[in-house]
């Protein structure tokens, strides 16, 4: 008796009861079901929802591993005792801090999915698989686990289940979770203490009288928003040896993930490309304003405005958001023309929010959530426009 037949027996035992979907999900997640459909015509294709989700997760794994190394690397650099990037010391810090985030994210999120499936008596949906992996990658490393659990509960219930579950949600659940954390617990989501592992602990120990140096590390966007100059090299920013949320620092690995998603036709290249174009456009406009002398160097927007336009692509969570979250097929525009508009506005607005609202240094989160809301409207007008065009053609013919 292997696990598979055990699960199969359990499934048979609970058939027709309220718990059936839960066992069915466990069984089909781990194994192929024993029986196939007998009648009718069915499309046999490998790219079902589960496969799609797993592809995205595969694209995310490099970011996760890199995040673990980077967590330790940033920690020891801030302490003044730098270690090699690819060292066990660095990886260990990341592993013990990030693994719990992943476990909590999946545990709580899938738990809620199972509860809702049981109550509503439908099959467990795979929608949370990607969200559960995205969430630990877009939060600061020291976020308390209970906060993450509260936010995941909120995001999955209010962001997804009230609309009818996977495929029906208006907002990207992972970003809903991050936005909730951002507004609910701002001290844990911004500032110069949360991005480096151990900085908050240090502050507490110092407050309690310990004779140690405080450690701090501001994200690049955070320091730019305060008018400081940054001293990271472009290659550091591109390869991701900078402080930030767990998995979003390495533009290089995100780019690899993007190529993988485009190659497997799971991520939309239209959205990614148009978002980059949008961001560059807005960045160029700001550069133009800054160099034209319309604002002076004393303006609080000057530092961010005069940041070279293409730097915006490699700092902050822009690349990660655009590649992995703007392309979420459920919440993005569905029409091809709509995708161009949707992506362009995400890029455009991200940079605008970054520059004009230093209280929200990460504009890409708010820009994607905003455009999620507008995506159905964009699609509506694209489709109506198409209908009108065809109607006109019809009239010309009949006339």
């Amino acid at each position: 008796m292997g696990l598979k037949s055990n699960l199969h027996n359990l499934k048979e035992k609970y058939k027709g009861t309220k718990m059936a979907p839960a066992f069915n999900a466990l069984h089909t997640f781990l194994y192929l079901p024993n029986d196939t459909t007998h009648n009718g015509t069915h499309i046999k294709a490998a790219d079902d929802l589960k496969r799609t989700m797993n592809t995205v997760i595969m694209a995310l794994i490099p970011c996760l591993i890199f995040g673990m190394f980077n967590a330790g690397y940033q920690h020891f650099s801030a302490l003044g005792t730098p270690v090699d990037f690819l060292s066990w010391d660095a990886f260990y810090i990341g592993l013990i801090k990030i693994l719990p985030l992943v476990v909590v994210s999946y545990g709580v999120g899938l738990g809620i999915e199972f509860i809702f499936a049981t109550i509503k008596n439908h099959e467990v949906e795979e929608g949370y698989l990607v969200t559960g992996m995205l969430v630990p990658l877009i939060v600061p490393i020291d976020i308390p686990l209970w906060m993450l659990a509260v936010a995941v509960t909120f995001g999955v219930v209010i962001g997804k289940e009230v609309f009818g579950g996977t495929g029906m949600n208006i907002l990207n659940p992972a970003l809903t979770i991050r936005a909730f954390l951002f507004f609910a617990y701002p001290t844990w989501m911004s500032g110069d203490k949360v991005w480096i592992q151990g900085a908050v602990e240090r502050t507490k120990e110092i407050a309690a009288g310990a004779n140690i140096d405080a450690i701090s590390g501001e994200t690049i966007l955070g320091s730019l928003a305060q008018g400081h100059h940054i001293n990271y090299s472009v290659s550091d920013m591109f390869f991701g040896f900078i402080p930030g949320s767990v998995g979003e620092t390495s533009t290089f690995l995100i780019l690899l993930g993007a190529l993988f998603l485009i190659f497997t036709k799971i991520g939309s290249w239209r959205i990614m490309l148009s978002a980059v174009v949008g961001a560059l456009t807005m960045g160029l406009i700001f550069n133009g304003v800054a160099s034209s002398g319309l604002i002076t160097e004393t303006s609080k927007f000057y530092t961010l405005m005069s940041t070279e336009f293409w730097h915006h692509l490699i700092i902050g969570g822009f690349a990660f958001g655009v590649v992995f979250m703007a392309t979420d097929p459920v919440t993005a525009s569905q029409t091809n023309k709509g995708k161009w508009i949707y992506g362009f506005l995400i890029g455009f607005l991200s940079i605008m929010i970054r520059v004009f609202n230093p209280a929200y240094p990460e504009g890409v989160m708010l820009a994607i959530l905003l455009m999620n809301v507008f995506a159905p409207t964009i699609d509506h007008y694209i489709i109506q426009g198409n209908v009108k065009k065809r109607m006109k053609r019809l009239k010309v013919k009949t006339a």
């Binding site: 308390p144 209010i158 009230v162 909730f180 609910a184 617990y185």
Partner: protein
């Protein structure tokens, strides 16, 4: 003999649950979102609306046969405006701090849809006693939701209830805060009030399927 007849009791109990002005008729949402960050403000707002609605309903009901129907809205506005000014002045006189918290929202009771709605739908067609009960009932239904929302927003957002630190002191780290708990700043923002009202609507409609609208 009972104090209220069965029909009269229904006038009060109906708007509390199955015909609640906020969750079923979706009226008076603005103030429910704006002033519910603290429980105290919610209670005072609920009482103010109750005073205005109950008295206003009686006044309109008494005048219902002499108001020309063409100008009835203006008459109603005059009545409600007069009452709101009285309430506003009373608040300013006896609880100035609170009236500053409620700020413009006391004045905006005038535009609260529940009030004009009850004048139009009930007071113009019923006697003063029934109108009085209707006013009390609807204001109580409105107040009930305000108090529920205010309770959760103050408890989770500030860790207090009516100003008492029920969860411990966040600065000295006592009670729950010693365990690492922190207040949820999102609860203090208006969008969260909308979500809380939404959850109440969700719970109410899943308990009573008859309330779910067809679409």
């Amino acid at each position: 003999m009972a104090l209220l007849s069965k029909k009269d009791t229904k006038l009060i109990t109906d708007p509390l649950l199955d015909n609640n002005p906020i969750t079923i008729q979706v009226l008076g949402i603005c103030s429910a979102l704006a002033i519910t960050a603290q429980l105290k403000a919610s209670i005072v707002m609920a009482l103010s609306v109750m005073a205005v609605l109950a008295i206003g309903n009686v006044v309109i009901s008494l005048m219902r046969n002499i108001i020309p129907s063409k100008i009835r809205i203006i008459v109603q506005l005059v009545v409600v405006a007069a009452l709101v000014i009285i309430v506003d002045q009373v608040l300013k006189a006896f609880s100035y701090e609170l009236s500053k918290t409620l700020s413009v929202f006391v004045g905006l009771i005038i535009t609260n849809c529940i009030i004009m709605g009850r004048f139009e739908a009930f007071a113009l067609a019923n006697g003063p006693w029934k109108s009085f009960l209707d006013g009390i009932g609807n204001a109580a239904g409105y107040g009930l939701i305000l108090v529920i929302v205010g309770f959760f927003r103050e408890l989770l957002g500030s860790g207090t209830l009516l100003g008492f630190k029920v969860l411990g002191d966040p600065i000295e780290k006592t009670g729950l805060y010693a365990l690492g708990y922190e207040n949820n700043g999102f609860m203090l923002l208006s969008p969260m009030a909308l979500i809380v009202v939404g959850i109440i609507i969700w719970v109410q409609r899943s308990r009573n399927e008859a309330l779910v609208e067809d679409n």
